[in-house]
């Protein structure tokens, strides 16, 4: 038995017809063609499927489509500003925080939520916040460095003097 759900993804609202036992992740990927969110495990273990639900990062593989209806959903496709990459995207590329790239959408969406909560995180803050995001390539140091660097760029752009902190 299918139902219609009104989903607002990256600011755009559309109707999706699917069954209520579908996950938000499958609905995004198969229903809306937004394949940026990855399905690494479908079990909550890897966070490659992270999206922001009303600004809060969640594993979209464990969210039923009905629980996302009527909320603001932000995926990796909605992170960049206009046609220029988000500072996090640029820092991940510049500093080698991307290798195969499978974990990257989840890393960047999650880091985006972190920097909204804590614009000036320590390395420990970054590691704690991204502990659920599994990467099998980079060894994490470059990811931490990329998030720290993007945080600096974003604080500088926001007008505050860049401060350097160590963990």
């Amino acid at each position: 038995m299918t139902r219609q759900y009104l989903l607002t993804v990256n600011g755009k609202t559309s109707f999706v017809t699917t069954t209520p036992d579908r996950s938000l992740l499958d609905t995004l990927r198969d229903g809306l063609g937004l394949t940026g969110s990855k399905k690494g495990c479908d079990e909550g273990e890897c966070a490659s499927c992270t999206v922001l639900l009303d600004g809060v990062p969640v594993n979209s593989c464990l969210v039923l489509v009905g629980d996302a209806a009527g909320k603001s959903i932000v995926t990796i496709e909605g992170i960049a500003e206009a046609d220029s990459p988000h500072p996090l995207q640029k820092a991940f590329v510049d500093l080698g925080g991307v290798q195969c790239g499978y974990c990257t959408p989840g890393m960047i969406v999650s880091a985006c939520a972190l920097l909204r909560e804590q614009p000036d995180p320590t390395d420990e803050d970054i590691k704690f916040y991204l502990a659920g995001n599994i990467c099998r390539c980079t060894g994490y140091n470059k990811i931490t460095a990329a998030v720290r660097s993007a945080a600096e760029t974003m604080r500088a752009a926001a007008g505050s003097a860049p401060t350097r902190r160590t963990a």
Partner: protein, 292 residues
């Protein structure tokens, strides 16, 4: 894994769905256990009853006299951020912070953690050590059960078909009391505990242990109080030797299993060390609270 999703808008409606569906239905909170159980083919349900749209089942409220009241659907991330929980119930916040990662903690609820009844459920030892109770509702009324007697076996609770958890209540801490939690797992994050310990200690004006509650996790099928350790501490000054003895008594009380994560004797050794450390930390916090 086809199933229907019922979305009751009131508690009355939720309870009548649960009563009607019986064994063919399951209450859904964060879904981080239930959806996996269904997806892995472990259980088939005709319907899940999504409790997220029922008002009054989330959020934390603090009262100086009554303590902390929280809805069963309160997420671990909300607990982690709550200023009163952070001030009075370190054990619970310390447990919340080790559960999975931030994304999962934004979904996973405390009621679901109890409902899933895993021996390694991380919120259970703190709730037991803090003397928490849980309110259970059904179409035929309401009852209150201590969290300690809520879990009756791995995956089993006192809930009868048609019943749900609605509210968890933790009494206000007495003066000169402190509490702490510690979990040991091989990996610091995204791992299940090999063993965990929570303790709550109240000191008298002399600095002796007036009262204490110690709860052990992942080392028995049901929540386990280290009653022999508690008895050894009561009325005594917490010397390092006594803390060590309490650890030994706690380890002796456990009924751990041997599995891929660790042998029974390894778990016992871990419990011994964790207990010694956790009661000392709880006592140090109690002394600091007394000095305030």
């Amino acid at each position: 894994m086809a199933f229907a999703v019922l979305e009751p808008a009131t508690l009355t409606e939720a309870l009548s769905h649960l009563a009607h569906e019986g064994d063919a239905g399951a209450a859904l909170a964060g879904g981080t256990d239930l959806l996996l159980r269904i997806r892995r083919g472990g259980r088939k349900y005709r319907s899940v009853i999504n409790l997220k749209f029922v008002p009054g089942l989330t959020g934390l409220a603090w009262d100086d006299q009554r303590g902390l009241t929280m809805g069963a659907l309160t997420t671990f991330r909300a607990i982690e951020h709550d200023p009163h929980a952070r001030r009075h119930y370190h054990a619970l916040v310390e447990a919340a912070r080790v559960i999975a990662g931030v994304q999962l903690r934004n979904l996973a609820t405390v009621g679901g953690n109890i409902g899933n009844a895993s021996p390694s459920a991380d919120s259970v030892p703190p709730l037991v050590a803090l003397g928490a109770t849980i309110e259970i509702a059904s179409t035929s009324g309401m009852r209150v059960v201590p969290v300690e007697s809520c879990i009756t076996g791995p995956g089993k609770t006192v809930l009868a078909p048609g019943e749900i958890f609605t509210t968890i209540h933790i009494p206000a801490p007495s003066t000169r009391s402190g509490n702490a939690f510690s979990r040991f797992s091989p990996r610091a994050a995204m791992d299940i505990g090999i063993a965990s310990v929570a303790a709550s200690v109240t000191l008298d004006t002399d600095g002796r242990c007036a009262d204490c509650r110690i709860a052990l996790g992942a080392v028995s099928p049901i929540p386990l109080r280290a009653t022999a350790s508690e008895a050894a501490l009561r009325g005594e000054r917490l010397t390092p030797a006594l803390a060590d003895l309490a650890g030994e008594l706690a380890a002796a009380a456990t009924r751990p299993i041997s599995d891929i994560r660790g042998s029974a004797s390894y778990r016992r050794a871990i419990v011994r060390t964790l207990t010694t450390r956790v009661i000392q930390q709880a006592a140090a916090r109690a002394a600091a609270a007394g000095a305030r």
